[in-house]
Amino acid sequence: MAHSARRDSPELPDFSMLKRLVKDQLIYLLEQLPGKKDLFIEADLMSPLDRIANVSILKQHEVDKLYKVEYKPVMSTSEQLCFLIRPRIQTVKWICDVVNADKTAGKCRRYKLIFTPQKFYACEAVLEEEGIFGDVSTDEWTFNLLPLDEDILSLELPEFFQDYFLAGDQRWVRTAGTALHLLHSLYGPFSKVYGIGRCSKMVYELWREQVEEGEQKAHQAEIGKVFLIDRDVDFVTPLCSQVVYEGLVDDIFRIKCGCVEFGPDVTSSDKSVKVMLNSQDKVFNEIRNEHFSNVFGFLSQKARNLQTAYDKRRGMDIKQIKAFVSEELKGLKQEHRQLSLHIGASESIMKKKTKQDFQELLKTEHSLLEGFEIRECISFIEEHMNRQVSMIESLRLLCLLSITENGLLPKDYRSLKAQYLQSYGVDHLFTFVSLRQLGLLVEQQPGDTLTVMESKVGKLVNDKTAGKLTDAFSSLAKKSNFRALSRKLSLVPKSDEEYDLRVPRDMAYIFSGAYIPLSCKLIEQVLERDSWTGLEEVTRLLNGHEFAAAGSSGADLSEKNDAQRIILVMFLGGCTFSEISALRFLGRERGYRFIVVTTAITNSSRLLEALLDNHV
């Protein structure tokens, strides 16, 4: 089961420093408001905060009561109110209401707003408009990187995706640049930065400016190379059903901030348990990257081993038993607990998946990826919608169909959209607007004249003009060109070959051997070539915006330096657990270690739900 790891796999840097830094800053900020105070925390900051501090730390710094921000009048009687919030206009407006209500009631309190990871002018403008600018103090808690595991860092900003890709708002671009800068100054200097996508370029640029403004302290680099990638370079991968254990657990139980809540059906008791899922959990660590079909075998083997270990007790004398209890028993008990949870989770996954015809769903997905029997796929999706099965699943399949086919035929688009609205409600008109804007679900242009015209123009004039033309079109609706990309990069292995999922031969194993994730394949190709050279056709199909830049000073480039094999991959707009698994696989194969930095962990449901919320 365990992959033969290259023995010289480099060590990962220690990211616990990041946690210490933000914790210290939070304490400092709380001390800025001396005395007892009540703390209001934005709902989606609770879990990240949990990973950094705990209640007793807050209490030590005179936080009296803790509240969740709920947009309701406050019941607190404290003299001092502190708000730990995201820089959102809605939240600030609520705080303004609170302060103004106090004013009307003649109540005098002190208020402090701590914005994280930064404050925005627009929020301060609200304070000003509502007439409470000056009545409250504001601060920033630069909590922009949360280590979720030894190789995953998250900005915990799921809204990055819809703000940037859907609304075209670049408010978080600088935040991402700052996060990168922090990593550069603590674990750099980086020797090389590659990237693809408009946002990646901007993040690079904002990071570079900060590097030039500041000073890099000379120290041994712990991270060598960096790869930045926009989520819209590859929408196919996050829309596929996940079949690697960690991804499946995320799809079904939703992992939140590295923590999952298993319900009674998993624990086979009447209560739920919250479990941290990371490399500390030994059982989980061994199965997280495995294809689900291998997990059962592994778990039962593990259970047998555990039994043998327990059985050792028999025939022991007192002394031996004493040693056993003090040395082994605790470990065994822990393993036992972990094992029973993951067995329970696997069973629950199986039950849920068989209930919803998972096999057929996967078959349709694979056909779409291969471009095979598209009519059958469409009729499968139709039936899925007609039967009012999950609204998100239907949408996911529609999007996959559109991206892989480079848009739907107008006739199909109309009919599928109508059926969708009839099954799930006309309000989804807005969802379709969002999907079109993102290029996730579009109508083919009549005859697809654009491509023809582009390529003709491209031949006649120089590439620059052609590039510009492509851009003008792609600004309307991004073209996916998935088929051409798939051929160029051999993303879909030949279907007639057997694929042994126990001994994966490439990253396609994360999708049962049916598809190599485009995002990860790009990373592999660029690292192999150490540039974009030879990938011109690919980048053209991806609408360009690729870059590679080498640092000129400070970095030790020698191949012997282990840090050069530590690669930081930053996903702008989110990445999935499946992609992380694929990169871990690639790392083992090539002797790299990947560190994934993402604006948030995503999956198909989160991606699509973000678009539903936007309009309600």
């Binding site: 800025q32 206009i89 400070g554």
Partner: protein, 494 residues
């Protein structure tokens, strides 16, 4: 006002820089005009800037600085003539190379000194004691007497201002009074890629420019426009947003935005009336039909709901007693409504509003949609004769046969989910064409007869023998298998 091609080339030649290699922004050719003007405007500013900052001016010289949204690209090698070698090269961006350090200034310190740092001590003066290094006041500065900053801040360039805003430092936006200055500020904000600053500048422009002028200028600045739209959406400034979209000629967006207001209307009658008023909005033809359907559906749901609630309360209608309604039908999707009507009003004549056939007709529901929904509803009620009738069609000779717009495999699945008994399932499993699929379905649903008959037809003695172990010993099925196996007349293949 579009410049001709020749003009463009002139421009590029005169600016001594290579044409861009890729495109970053939503450029239209019309942008050229704007950028050219910007370049013109910027020269004097640049010159003034010189004594203030000598690192920056170098990067100005080779580049058409104002062509911000136009994206001037130079390779790092040709454009970067900064004094120290940058750690990383600039890639094609819109920003002129900036690498100045602000260590020379102590402006923020001066401000702090002037206003008195009374952090925490005096609660009322929090404005003054904002926070240590990151004093991010931009608007309140408007109110400060000129004398307070006049000497210190003489002429910050828009670029410098944007840079300070990015760092959260004090800036004086009221200095930007002419339209050209305001736009320059905006363009620099856009070229700095910082959405926070772009929005801040837009808020300032919104306050100081008339709507007409602002809208006009935003039209050619896509990035800024999208920030502005997002800002208006977030602040829920629906009125201004509608005006903006109208000014931009985006009438379909206007229609959708207005239509969206129905979501905030709770009362169903008011909602229906509102939807009616939406019918005349300029939707695309396709969406127009959807909105029309939405209105018709709600109108009908209101009628059905009133009638059924009455019937349910009256306690005389059997079906409502046997299967009490779990929720109101108001605002449910069309297919849910159809299901509801197939459940409670299946046999009504086509003339009533709640008749499934009437709904099918009114909303142009496809055969497949109707079929799936009716099947599920009747199966739920275990009305097997209705189920049977759904499939039955007569050909021209008057023979009946079973037809389905849905694969029989799917039909079996739907019936099974609604816990249909084996006898019912058997009938439909038998209609599956593909023999392998038929057998696997039959095995799954324990339709032994079908399995046995299929094996018999295949003359496969071995499989039949194997199946004997899967049926109950001594059952009718086992008897049948034994009988077949001992039948001398069958010519077994194996």
């Amino acid at each position: 006002m579009m410049k001709s091609k020749a003009d463009e080339e002139d421009f590029w030649n005169s600016s001594k820089c290579k044409p861009f290699t890729f495109d970053d922004e939503d450029d239209e050719f019309s942008k050229l005009k704007e950028s050219k003007q910007t370049v013109k405007n910027i020269r004097p500013l640049v010159d003034e800037d010189e004594d203030e900052d000598d690192v920056e001016k170098i990067s100005w010289s080779g580049e058409p600085v104002g062509s911000i949204s136009w994206s001037v690209r130079e390779t790092a090698a040709s454009s970067q003539r900064t004094e120290r070698e940058p750690a990383f090269p600039k890639i094609n961006t819109d920003t002129p190379a900036i690498s100045r350090s602000l260590s020379g200034y102590s402006l923020s310190a001066l401000f702090k000194g002037g206003t008195g740092k009374t952090k925490g001590a005096n609660f009322q003066s929090f404005t003054d004691s904002q926070s240590d290094s990151s004093v991010r006041l931009y608007a309140p500065e408007l109110r400060k007497p000129k004398s307070e900053y006049k000497d210190i801040v003489s002429d910050w360039s828009p670029e410098h201002t944007v840079q300070r805003m990015q760092q959260g430092k004090v800036v004086h936006l009221e200095k930007f009074r002419s339209l050209q200055d305001k736009l320059l500020l905006l363009d620099f904000a856009v070229s700095a890629h910082d959405g926070n600053v772009i929005t801040a500048v837009l808020i300032y422009l919104k306050r100081t420019l008339s709507k007409e002028v602002l809208f006009r200028e935003l039209e050619s600045r896509q990035t800024a426009l999208r920030h502005f739209i997002h800002y208006l959406t977030e602040t829920r400034d629906q009125r201004l947003l509608l005006e903006l979209l109208r000014a931009l000629g985006r009438i379909e967006d206007v229609a959708l935005l207005q239509y969206k207001e129905h979501l905030s209307i709770a009362d169903e009658n008011k909602r229906r009336d509102f939807l009616k008023s939406c019918l005349s909005l300029p939707f695309s033809p396709e969406d127009s039909a959807h909105v029309q359907d939405h209105y018709t559906l709600l109108e009908r749901q209101i009628i059905i709901e009133a009638t059924d609630r009455h019937a349910e309360r009256g306690g005389k209608v059997e079906i409502f007693q046997k299967f009490p309604r779990r929720a109101s039908i108001l605002n449910m999707p069309l297919i849910t409504t159809l299901y509801y009507c197939c459940f409670y009003h299946y046999h009504e004549s086509e003339g009533t509003y709640s008749s499934p056939l009437n709904i099918r007709q009114t909303f142009r529901i496809s055969d497949k949609q109707y079929f799936v929904t009716a099947l599920a509803a009747r199966a739920k009620l275990k009305a097997w004769s209705d189920v049977d009738a759904l499939f039955t069609s007569r050909n021209w000779l008057g023979f009946t046969r079973k037809k389905s717009p849905l694969s029989f495999q799917r039909v079996v699945d739907i019936l099974h989910r609604n816990s249909a008994p084996t006898q019912v399932l058997q009938e439909y499993v038998g209609l599956v064409d593909d023999s392998d699929l038929r057998i696997s379905l039959a095995q799954k649903h324990k339709c032994h007869d079908i399995v046995i008959n299929t094996y018999r037809d295949l003359k496969d003695r071995q499989l039949l023998l194997g199946y004997l172990s899967k049926v109950e010993r001594g059952s009718a099925e086992a008897g049948k298998i034994n009988q077949l196996l001992s039948n001398q007349q069958i010519r077994w293949r194996n």
